[in-house]
Symmetry: C2
Subunit: 353 residues, 2 copies
């Protein structure tokens, strides 16, 4: 992220959490559907300074609009790694991508993937990486040095985005808040916890891939001691109310020991994504996160709510945000809509206790 | 456990959760301190029908009192595996144990370990196991077939022990309740979630070693659909209030979808084991488990409290149990003390809704 660093030098952290080679060349495979290239678009939108250009196979029609560069050209412009910015059904590495990936390794680029399939499980890639001395980096693989959490208080300030469900805006809300903090001159780090966030941040912790016993410990490692006025803005995962992922959410909540939470919700979402179970309401979500969060930070507070209003027109959205704010007695904003409501949410996040 | 099986035949489950070769020969290493042989004593006390005898190195002074048998003698009496029933500092496999372990493999026994170190990482054991066609089984290694939880309601009844802290009696309480159910003719299975429990049960799921995203899914797999009147008595892990392990506890709570919880506590424990953080009180622990547990089982109820009174004399213990029962309005018993209080707790567990 385009933010200043905290107390710890980058080198001191790099042995602990993922730290990716940058800038990137974005690889779009043979994609003809924008929906499969979310990672590439997320990187273009949130980490333009980390992207030197894009590359794809013959037949691809999707483009991020960045300069089209061969791996060799990208390397010459400073790229350190090719990022697989596209997904396909099954999360596997397509046979048709192999020539491009081999070319990247030969041109001096590492390869970074957020897919389920491991790069090193493809024999050609493995032997070419060994031959060229390049790295194959799977951002879903957590570091081996995670320890059991202690719950001990760390210095610096922390914000965690939480939600009524998974895939409901926790990453974008954290990114928008980190950007707003930076615009106000507040020293901060966006702390990524999922694969796209990790690619955007250039590092982080894949919380869903950590062994359960080490979950809170991984969160403690992700946001280490920092200067008293420094903020870590931590990307949330799952939901305390999700029947599959609540354990991930609770480990992240305890280990992050946030001073502030922001609760993310989509007013159109009535059921848990993909499951016939109703969503919790916002008041219950706030209450439960605060009750459980007090265990590692007794002064935890909720700064407000982030609502996804992308399906509404401007006026309807603004009215809904105002109504919800009045109902909950808290700032309610859509971080994708700049304006007064969002500024109030940022104010509330940064309020001195 | 000495209980009848539920709806699913043993074979149908064996591909899903750990299912250990039995009966065992208990191995005590070169142990001279009883405290290091907790696993062996736990097996002797809770699974005597699974233990044909014990074996140890020269110099060992600790004994479970079971017949001393060489691996060959044990094999002749039907033993299928040698269980490492002893721990040492660091959780490693001692050099001095190797001749005994090699002898076990040569005699036709598999080896089962609950230690952190993996058996197959010892080259001599690995090659001897390959040579003899025997298995090296680490009960901390979860199966590879775990899927993401769905939260869907399963048939049969479930009880989960939960606690104010880790290492506070959840395993013993579940074992005692399963035994009491069996004595009353109630069809049930003790479902183990930690290494000692798994050895005692002859199978189970090492919940703390599962990847966080699959935690609730592992719990769903551990207690599959069963006959309507069948009980799964599930060993709890950690505590919702433990700053390191709460995620494990919540995943287990959601995935177990218990009809009944029993809360375990030690009245002498004022702080989280090994951490300077006070324990939650019993009422708060009950309330939080019920609130979160309702997410996957709206009819969850608390049947009572299991108190560890092992440091008290009989009269003081009985008085404390009665006082706590009056205060909480729930049965309170020490499952290690048979008697009226415990029978009331069992009654409450089995009460029809």
């Amino acid at each position: 992220m385009n933010t200043k660093r905290g107390l710890q030098p980058r080198e001191a952290r790099s042995s602990q959490v993922l730290d990716l080679p940058q800038p990137y060349l974005l690889f779009l495979g043979d994609s003809t559907e924008k929906g499969y290239a979310k990672t590439a678009f997320g990187l273009r939108d949130w980490a333009p300074d980390r992207c030197v250009g894009e590359w794809s196979c013959a037949g691809a029609t999707v483009s991020t609009g960045l300069a089209r560069l061969t791996p060799k050209e990208a390397r010459a412009r400073g790229a350190k790694a090719l990022v697989i910015g596209v997904a396909n059904t099954g999360g596997v590495i397509s046979e048709s991508w192999l020539p491009s990936l081999m070319e990247a390794l030969e041109s001096g680029l590492d390869i970074i993937s957020g897919m389920h399939a491991k790069l090193a499980d493809v024999p050609q890639l493995k032997s070419m990486a060994e031959h060229t001395g390049r790295r194959l980096i799977d951002v879903r693989t957590p570091p081996r040095t995670i320890t059991i959490a202690t719950g001990a208080k760390r210095s610096g300030k922390r914000l965690l985005t939480v939600g009524t469900d998974c895939a409901i805006g926790k990453k974008y809300t954290a990114l928008a808040l980190a950007r707003a903090f930076t615009q106000r001159g507040i020293d901060n780090d966006f702390r990524a916890t999922g694969q796209t966030g990790i690619l955007i941040a250039g590092g982080g912790m894949p919380m869903d891939a950590v062994i359960a016993d080490f979950e809170a410990g991984a969160a403690e490692m992700l946001s280490p001691d920092a200067a008293a006025q420094h903020w870590d803005v931590i990307e949330g995962q799952g939901s305390l109310f999700h029947p599959a992922y609540a354990g991930v959410s609770l480990g992240l909540l305890h280990g992050s020991q946030p001073d502030v939470i922001v609760v993310c919700h989509d007013p159109d979402r009535k059921q848990v994504l993909g499951l016939p179970i109703s969503l919790p309401d916002l008041a219950e979500t706030i209450d439960m996160n605060l009750r459980l969060g007090r265990r590692t930070n007794p002064t935890i507070r909720c700064a407000g709510v982030s609502l996804n209003t992308s399906d509404l027109d401007e006026n309807t959205a603004i009215r809904l945000l105002a109504d919800e704010s009045a109902r909950l007695g808290l700032p309610v904003a859509d971080p994708m809509r700049a304006g007064e409501a969002f500024e109030r949410l940022v104010d509330e996040c940064l309020k001195q206790n």
